[in-house]
């Protein structure tokens, strides 16, 4: 598949078959098209070529079963919504038209917040949280959506250790429940710890496969171009498996 904005081709030549329940790391430098690829899979930007299928079904039929955890720049922070309101948005599609979240949806939202360490904070406006907590709110929203595919866009950017642990644990729970997870990151430390597969990207697909076989210095060099020094300092390559 490929995605273009006007005449600018943002991503192309991506061909991958992702097994259900796998955790795929989308890896590439800034501007390599990771976000675009995620948005295309989410159905938020149109494909200019190719197709995306889920379990043999066309993507349109799959709407609602994909949960998307955005980068922080993508939502309207000034909007008057509480953490509970945001998490309850995960139930909108299941509610359908003309119905508002009720007690059951609020309870589900509170439970998801509590599971991610934000117990009793549902009433606060979303700007009254730290950056890492805000990301957890959006992760909670993905949880209540009961998705089959979760898309995480740079969840490890600028967050503290506690937050990383919360994300790791939840990614594991998703995978155990058979939910497929795609996580875009340029944080190479995270890849080996969290993913079963990697897709290396730099405007076009460089490599795709199980992490152990694909997450190699040669492939990384191909994806990151000249920035070799960056990843050769990453200790995971020297470590025994």
């Amino acid at each position: 598949m490929a995605v273009a904005y006007g005449h600018n081709l943002a991503v192309c030549d991506v061909t991958a078959e992702v097994p259900r329940g796998s955790v795929v790391g989308l890896i590439g430098p800034n501007g390599s098209g990771k976000s675009t690829l995620l948005k295309a899979i989410a159905g938020s930007v149109p494909l200019s070529a190719g197709s995306i299928r889920f379990g043999g079904q066309p993507a349109g039929r799959f709407a609602g079963r994909i949960a998307y955890v955005p980068q922080r720049e993508e939502v309207n922070w000034d909007f008057p919504v509480t953490a509970r309101d945001v998490v309850a948005m995960g139930r909108y599609r299941a509610l359908g038209w003309l119905r508002w979240p009720g007690r059951r949806e609020r309870a589900a939202a509170d439970a998801a917040l509590a599971a991610l360490g934000l117990e009793g904070m549902g009433d606060r406006h979303i700007t009254q949280f730290s950056g890492g907590q805000q990301q957890r709110i959006f992760l909670a929203r993905a949880m209540v959506q009961e998705p089959e595919l979760v898309l995480l866009d740079e969840p490890f950017t600028g967050v503290d250790v506690r937050n990383r642990e919360v994300f790791h644990a939840q990614i594991h729970r998703f995978a155990e429940a058979g939910v497929t997870v795609l996580v875009a990151t340029h944080d190479l430390d995270e890849v080996r710890a969290t993913t079963t597969h990697v897709l290396l990207l730099n405007r076009r697909m460089v490599a795709f496969g199980p992490t152990a076989a694909t997450f190699t210095p040669a492939n990384l060099r191909a994806a990151f171009g000249g920035q070799v020094a960056v990843f050769e300092q990453v200790p995971v390559f020297e470590r025994a498996p």
């Binding site: 709407a63 609602g64 720049e73 993508e74 922070w77 000034d78 909108y92 406006h125």
Partner: protein, 301 residues
């Protein structure tokens, strides 16, 4: 007491009061989304772009609503399509088009006799001249808009707060955005009679902006916004009656005073509260949003 009751002995004041209550509720409701989506400029563009429609129906002896609705719908659709194409600078294009439309209205009107008097009542509204039919038409349109907003509140909220997720869930975000623009257009058109083309934007923006300072909840914001607009409308009418000032402009200034009061004294977002907060040395996570401004920028685009 007679200060309050005296104006009400006149039929035109009674109708004006009714009209301003309906318009206030409508502007407060729809305006909440105008403020939250950063559509103030687009609203202004709409208010100006419908002017030729107002002039044409006025000259044809029709209700100004007829022409205004025609041009309002066209402009809302045009802006919606413009916003979709990424190649044009949206602000510039809207600026060019609405100025041209407005000029077109003035040119058409200037071909007629009695130009200045007519121009005045069309530009600044004539709330004291509304008929009972006008009031009923306004009420029907306001009710229709309110029903649509209530029915789609969940969808409008999601599309405004997180359009990427809305698309991921399969919601028709473009259609929702267009519908919202049409509702804004309808609101502006029916409010034109009250305060005129130039001031109508204040009714749509100022009360919701006031309400946003007072609460962090959407429904409360909408309710407060409607109350603020209705209150400013009634208070402005009384003031204009007793001071002998132009009704529309007095209403707008009353709304502005309420906004300034909220800006200074609002419990959480007000200047005084912020000052007290800093004096007490609260530097914890309260209202912590490093990327907030970028996000607001991105959202308004």
């Amino acid at each position: 007491m007679s200060w309050l009751t005296e104006p009400l002995q006149y039929g035109f004041m009674q109708r004006a009061m009714l009209e301003v209550l309906i318009i206030g509720a409508l502007c407060g409701l729809v305006g909440s989304f105008v403020v939250l989506r950063g559509l103030a400029f687009i609203g202004d563009a709409l208010a100006h772009a419908v002017f030729p429609g107002v002039v044409l129906s006025y000259l044809a002896g029709q209700s100004i609503l007829v022409g205004a609705f025609g041009f309002g719908t066209l402009t809302a659709l045009g802006i919606g399509l413009l916003a979709r194409s990424r190649r044009v600078s949206e602000d510039t294009a809207i600026g060019v088009i609405f100025a041209a439309f407005f000029a077109l209205g003035v040119v058409i009107l200037s071909r007629q006799g009695g130009f200045r008097r007519d121009l005045g009542s069309l530009l600044f509204g004539n709330i004291l001249g509304v008929s009972m039919t006008d009031v009923i038409v306004t009420a029907v349109i306001a009710a229709a808009v309110a029903v649509i907003v209530a029915a789609l509140l969940k969808e409008f909220t999601l599309a405004s707060f997180d359009p990427v997720m809305a698309r991921t869930l399969g919601y028709p975000v473009f259609a929702l955005d267009l519908l919202l623009l049409l509702l804004v257009a309808a609101t502006i058109v029916v409010s034109l009679q009250t305060v005129g083309n130039i001031l109508v934007l204040a009714l749509v923006v100022t009360p919701p902006a006031t309400a946003r300072l007072l609460t962090d909840r959407l429904l409360r914001m909408m309710g407060l916004s409607m109350l603020t607009a209705m209150g400013a409308g009634i208070a402005g009418l009384y003031l204009s009656y007793h001071l002998g000032t132009a009704a529309g402009a007095t209403i707008v200034l009353t709304a502005t005073v309420l906004f300034l009061l909220a800006l200074v004294f609002a419990p959480n977002h007000g200047l005084v509260a912020g000052w007290v907060h800093r004096r007490r040395g609260h530097h914890h996570a309260h209202h912590y949003h490093p990327a907030g401004e970028e996000a607001a920028d991105a959202a308004s685009r």
